[in-house]
């Protein structure tokens, strides 16, 4: 698979590109246009759209825009076959990382001549980096099954010497870093599974050459572009099309160009020290299956015994491997801190331990603010964070609020998390140091949280753009099962934690002095399902008691609470109520809603010795809150 599957699909990509490219004569704000081009480069685009974006951005930015935080790159791409179709993808991969790239391709096959001629166009281009991309036919010229072992070895020595010679020339000429593309394994076997017994096998030769090039690159301070390993993962048929080779001498098929370019883009960013440094993890349904606050230590899916539990273990293992090679781990979770910590401290199958996490943030604030806090606590740039969350709402919130944070697109299957991180190459590294291995320990040493400036987040703009609809239905038989399930499962956002059977719910439906509401929330990212349940009971004194109010924590911070209150008030007035009575009954799990009624404007009437409270709202003076949620009768 050569798709850039970790990048999100941008629905209005095409009109946005056209808007960007329109009216070249018109005065555009270059800073804004650059940011928009970078944003479009961070969408999931194929080779055709990559080329279109490249055309537009080259027209807009023939020279680097002023004030870039990155260094422009002038990349000479030297090779033995057609590389023209790779240049747009390389430039766009730079753009994806905020790097302005100009690329040069030698005249067909003339790389050695140009390297040897100070009057060549290559010298005039003055590259600041050099990519050597030799096709496997060129590198195996003269290799044939007729060769004996000595002849094959001699051939290998000769070609390695030739490649090293080009490194020397390029370095002497330009004093620039060099990236050597590994040879693509495009050849077909002639012996079979035991191809290695044939000294002159081209398949074998390419494999040996790639090993030899890696060793030589170590000695000469050259970096490797590992398209061989990448193509092995994707399947060589995704990378190479023999028919196309015969037609146009393109060794890399155009559909693979965006991925090829991205591999080069990672290297350019890593060379500037701009690889990502820190992996920020959500917890519920990301690090384990289920919701710790609701499902409890025994209820979450983690560990042996189920495929799902093993998949979460595998993801944790991948994260720990990243940590062991120097990536900082952090946690950003909507949870009570004590609940969030419990698996780290008590679950036997947790691979990640509290000690692996350099910054641990579990609270109910919005994640964009929390991610800012993590960057501040760790004292690293916010543009060095990668955030993994199974919840599309959170992903899109963070993408919108913090476009510099990388947020891979993942499915709800945990096997997709390590794959997205690995394929995206966020953490591209060029060397491993002792310091890297000790890094997490370092960051933990100064965990003490610095005082945070409260960042202002344009949350309102985000909520408005979500096009949320709250679909309200009275209790009915179709929803019965889900209603009962929610009533008996919800622990955290649950004001009274009253548990009811099916019969209890049916009796609410039959009672003329009671109402039950099931609320479903949809937004432009999809249907969140039934996310809240309310039961109201009219008392003889015309007070309406809110018997049950529970909500899924997934939709916290989205104005569902005040919108629900509007609905409760309307239903209460329909029954003839004059006041609402809201009660909070404390449990071990529901501390987060202790101030729920106070926040909604209720007046406190009494508190209980256990820490509960009773609150009153006068319906005569109640004004429904304005929210960004559109209410629909379902």
């Amino acid at each position: 698979m050569t798709e850039l599957h970790w990048l999100p699909t941008i629905a209005d990509w095409r009109p946005r590109l056209r808007a960007l490219g329109a009216d070249p004569g018109k005065a555009v704000d270059p800073g804004k246009a650059w940011d928009e081009a970078v944003a479009l480069a961070n969408g999931r685009i194929n080779f055709v759209l990559t080329n279109a974006l490249d055309e537009a951005s080259r027209r807009l930015f023939p020279t680097p825009p002023a004030g870039l935080a990155t260094k422009p790159v002038r990349l000479a791409v030297l090779g033995s076959s057609t590389l023209t179709h790779l240049l747009p993808a390389i430039r766009v991969a730079g753009l994806r990382r905020g790097i302005w790239v100009e690329a040069y391709e030698n005249d067909y096959g003339q790389y050695l001549q140009e390297l040897s001629d100070p009057d060549s166009a290559l010298y005039a281009f003055q590259p600041t980096a050099v990519l050597l991309a030799f096709d496997a036919h060129h590198l195996t010229a003269g290799v044939t099954a007729a060769l004996d072992a000595a002849a094959a070895d001699a051939q290998l020595t000769e070609i390695v010497a030739h490649v090293r010679e080009t490194w020397t020339r390029a370095r002497d000429a330009f004093k620039a870093p060099i990236l050597q593309q590994a040879a693509l394994p495009i050849h077909l076997p002639v012996l079979g599974s035991n191809e290695h017994r044939l000294p002159g096998s081209r398949v074998r030769f390419v494999a040996r050459l790639n090993e030899a090039l890696r060793a030589a690159a170590e000695a000469d301070g050259v970096d490797i572009l590992a398209v061989d390993e990448r193509a092995t993962r994707d399947g060589i048929a995704r990378w190479h099309d023999a028919g196309l080779w015969h037609r146009s001498k393109q060794e890399v098929a155009p559909p693979a160009a965006p991925l090829y370019g991205d591999l080069v883009g990672r290297w350019m960013a890593a060379k500037q020290g701009r690889s990502f440094k820190c992996l920020v993890l959500d917890l519920d349904n990301t690090v384990w299956g289920g919701v710790i606050g609701d499902d409890g230590l025994e209820g979450i899916a983690l560990g042996q015994g189920s495929a799902l539990g093993e998949a979460y273990v595998a993801f944790q293992d991948y994260a720990r491997e990243l940590a062991r090679r120097g990536i900082i781990l952090a946690v950003c979770s909507k949870n009570d801190e004590a609940n969030a910590l419990e698996p780290f401290e008590k679950h036997p199958d947790m691979v990640l331990k509290r000690g692996d996490i350099a910054s641990f943030v579990a609270n109910w604030s919005n994640k964009a603010d929390n991610i800012r806090a993590i960057a501040q606590e760790l004292n690293i740039g916010i543009d060095s964070l990668v955030f993994v969350d199974d919840n599309p709402f959170e992903r899109n919130l963070v993408r919108q609020e913090l476009p510099m944070v990388a947020v891979p697109e993942v499915s709800d299957d945990p096997t997709s998390y390590p794959l997205a991180l690995a394929d995206a190459g966020y953490f591209e590294g060029l060397a491993v140091t002792e310091e890297d291995r000790e890094r997490t320990a370092q960051y933990q040493g100064n965990r003490a949280r610095e005082a945070l400036k409260s960042a202002t987040t344009d949350l309102e703009g985000y909520l408005r753009g979500l096009e949320m609809e709250l679909i309200v239905r009275p209790f009915d038989r179709i929803g019965l099962q889900r209603i009962v399930q929610l009533i008996n499962k919800s622990n955290q956002f649950n004001l009274t934690t009253k548990r009811y059977t099916e019969e209890d719910v049916l009796s609410v439906m039959a009672d003329p002095d009671a109402f039950g509401l099931q609320l479903r929330l949809t937004d432009r990212f999809g249907d969140n399902g039934v996310i809240a349940i309310v039961i109201g009971r009219l008392q003889p004194d015309k007070d309406l008691t809110i018997d049950t109010w529970l909500m899924s924590c997934r939709v916290l911070g989205r104005q569902v609470e005040p919108t629900t209150l509007n609905l409760i008030a309307a239903n209460a007035q329909r029954l003839g109520a004059r006041r609402l009575v809201g009660e909070y009954i404390p449990t071990k799990k529901n501390g987060m809603v202790k101030e729920h009624y106070a926040k909604l404007g209720f007046t406190l009437m009494e508190t209980t010795p256990e820490g509960g409270n009773r609150n009153i709202l006068d319906l005569g003076t109640f004004t429904p809150a304005e929210t960004f949620i559109h209410v629909v009768e379902g």
Binding site: R14, L17, R18, G21, N46, F47, V48, L49, N51, A52, E55, A56, T84, H85, G243, L244, H246, R247, S248, Q250, A253, P254, P255
Partner: protein, 81 residues
């Protein structure tokens, strides 16, 4: 199977992406000479995007036979039949 009108409609989207313009009228007689910027690279883009779109693979002879949009549509129709 894809009908010719369906193929023309889908190709129009592909051409719109390849040339970043929506105003191209695809007719059977349209050839590379008629469209600014339609060079051999764009030709390969159109072919590869079509292969992706319909999950098909053109062979060398078929590619050699392509002279016009009409030819392309015929080959796609035959391969998706």
């Amino acid at each position: 199977m894809a009908t010719e009108p369906e193929i023309y409609a889908a190709l129009k989207e592909i051409f719109a992406d390849v040339f970043m313009r929506d105003d191209l009228e695809l007719t059977p007689a349209l050839t590379a000479k008629d469209v600014k910027g339609w060079d051999s690279f764009k030709q390969i883009e159109i072919i590869m995007a079509s292969e992706e779109r319909w999950g098909i693979k053109f062979n060398t002879r078929e590619l050699d036979s392509l002279q016009s949009v009409g030819d392309l549509v015929k080959v796609i129709a035959a391969k998706t039949a």
